[in-house]
């Protein structure tokens, strides 16, 4: 009996490792050993600290990060990366892009005259001093139609960051720099070129970071609890219904004050959220919906969460809406990126 048992376990394990090559099946944290005992996800998380009255994240510098759609990736540690060589990297990347264009790979007809690359450091985007400062890469160009000395327009941005990723970076050998989260905005072709250059130069690996419905519900709960100054926009949850001949999406909008009032009755310890509290919060929302529409949202897939703080989509797309909670959201995303790497 015992041998039969072992081979079945191995085949499941093997499946989890080989699945990425098959359609859209995803590799799992299910069998990862991150928390000691197999299969455990955090049962509680610390809330991002409330925004300080004096902003330690200079909102001026980070405004350009707001209200844009960022596609998320996890990045393995970069080998022999140094933030004192940013200008050199920019030069090398620029040459690489020019070479790729010559090969005909960057195809956007009639757009670029020449792509300029700027790589800079964003020292305020980090959780603590133990985190590596964020690194911003921007591609800009002048359109052929505009006059010669006109402003260059940023056509693509990408930034690496790590917020409170010190548990991970502590265990990594010396020559490596940990910036596990990468966010990109702009044409996919540029993301792929920039990504290839970094992968080749620093021996790292980029992977799209998807967000599971479970993590989306954490975000819904965490962000609902955040205090917002002006009138907050409605909280919106989007669900996709499986197994139907034609795809069906359900959008559930909740008045932000009602959502906050519900969350306040659920959350017990200030500064910390438990899985139970998230479950109770979501179950209340689901039962309310079921009472009115007789539809069980718990049998559908939560694909998108939008609140006044930020909005997140399960394909790994995020939009930041409030600068004072930027680091808070990044902290959670960094955690997800690290889980995907390990």
């Amino acid at each position: 009996v015992a041998p039969g048992l072992m081979s079945a376990m191995e085949s499941v394990d093997g499946a989890v490792r080989t699945l990425p090559s098959i359609g859209r099946l995803s590799r799992g944290l299910l069998f990862g050993g991150v928390h000691g005992r197999v299969g455990l996800s955090p049962s509680s998380r610390l809330l991002p600290p409330a925004p300080p009255s004096q902003e330690n994240v200079d909102s001026q510098k980070t405004t350009f990060l707001l209200r844009k759609q960022w596609t998320l990736y996890s990045v393995t540690p970069l080998y022999r990366f140094s933030d004192t060589h940013l200008k050199d990297y920019a030069r090398l990347l620029s040459a690489f892009i020019a070479a790729e264009k010559q090969k005909g790979l960057a195809v956007e007809i009639g757009v670029e005259l020449g792509i300029k690359v700027a790589i800079s450091s964003l020292p305020d985007l980090r959780g603590s001093d133990r985190d590596q400062a964020a690194i911003l890469v921007q591609l800009s160009s002048r359109s052929p139609a505009s006059p010669k000395n006109s402003e260059e327009k940023v056509i693509w941005s990408g930034w690496f960051c790590s917020v409170s990723g010190d548990d991970f970076s502590e265990n990594v050998p010396e020559d490596f720099t940990c910036l596990p989260l990468f966010l990109a905005n702009g044409a996919e072709s540029y993301t792929s070129i920039v990504g290839s250059w970094f992968q080749k130069t620093f021996d790292c690996c980029f992977r799209r970071l998807a967000i599971s419905p479970l993590n989306l519900s954490w975000m819904a709960a965490m962000w609902t609890g955040c205090k917002v100054d002006k009138t907050a926009s409605a909280m919106e949850l989007v669900f996709s219904v499986p197994h139907l001949p034609q795809p069906l999406d359900i959008s559930y909008a909740i008045h932000p004050e009602d959502a906050k009032a519900l969350w306040d009755t659920v959350q017990k310890t200030p500064g910390e959220i438990t899985q139970e509290e998230v479950d109770v919060f979501m179950d209340c929302l689901y039962s309310h919906f079921h009472r009115h529409f007789k539809i069980r949202l718990s049998a559908t897939k939560l694909v998108k969460v939008s609140t006044a703080i930020a909005s997140a989509h399960c394909d790994g797309i995020i939009k930041f809406l409030q600068s004072q909670y930027l680091t808070g959201v990044l902290m959670l995303l960094t955690e997800l990126a690290i889980s995907q790497i390990q």
Binding site: L19, I22, R24, G28, L214, Q275, S298, C314
Partner: protein
């Protein structure tokens, strides 16, 4: 025999053969499936939990679609002293391996394997899971 929830309809009680094992299937993509299983457990006679119940978690290949927190499932296994198995129905190899495994367990639960009782097998599975 497949049922979407318990209790089974009482009209067919007299026609039903003896039940040797119950496999509760939880789809990791559906929170509702966990709630359904939790509600159905209340209708199971205590004697089944001596090795004749197991939890089968499906959809583990699609972890990015995970709607259930794993702790809840492990806790269920602990509370009901029953093993938790994992499989991915979309892959034929896993499907077949899992089916063979369940069949083997069923043979033990039905008493067809001399020298191995459902209870002893259940505790064997639990101790190997804790390693």
């Amino acid at each position: 025999h497949l049922a979407t929830s318990l209790p089974l309809p009482s009209e067919r009680d007299h026609l039903r053969p003896r039940i040797d094992m119950i496999v509760f299937m939880i789809d990791i993509k559906s929170k509702y499936s966990l709630k359904n299983v939790e509600a159905s457990l209340a209708y199971v006679d205590a004697s089944f939990f001596l090795g004749k119940v197991c939890f089968l978690v499906t959809g583990v290949g699609r972890v990015n679609c995970c709607s259930i927190e794993m702790n809840a499932i492990w806790k269920l296994g602990e509370i009901y002293s029953s093993p938790v198995l994992f499989c991915e129905l979309e892959m034929e190899g896993i499907r077949v391996a899992t089916a063979q495994r369940l069949l083997r367990m069923l043979q033990i639960c039905a008493g067809h394997i001399p020298g191995v009782s459902a209870l002893s097998f259940g505790s064997l599975m639990r101790s190997s899971a804790n390693d």
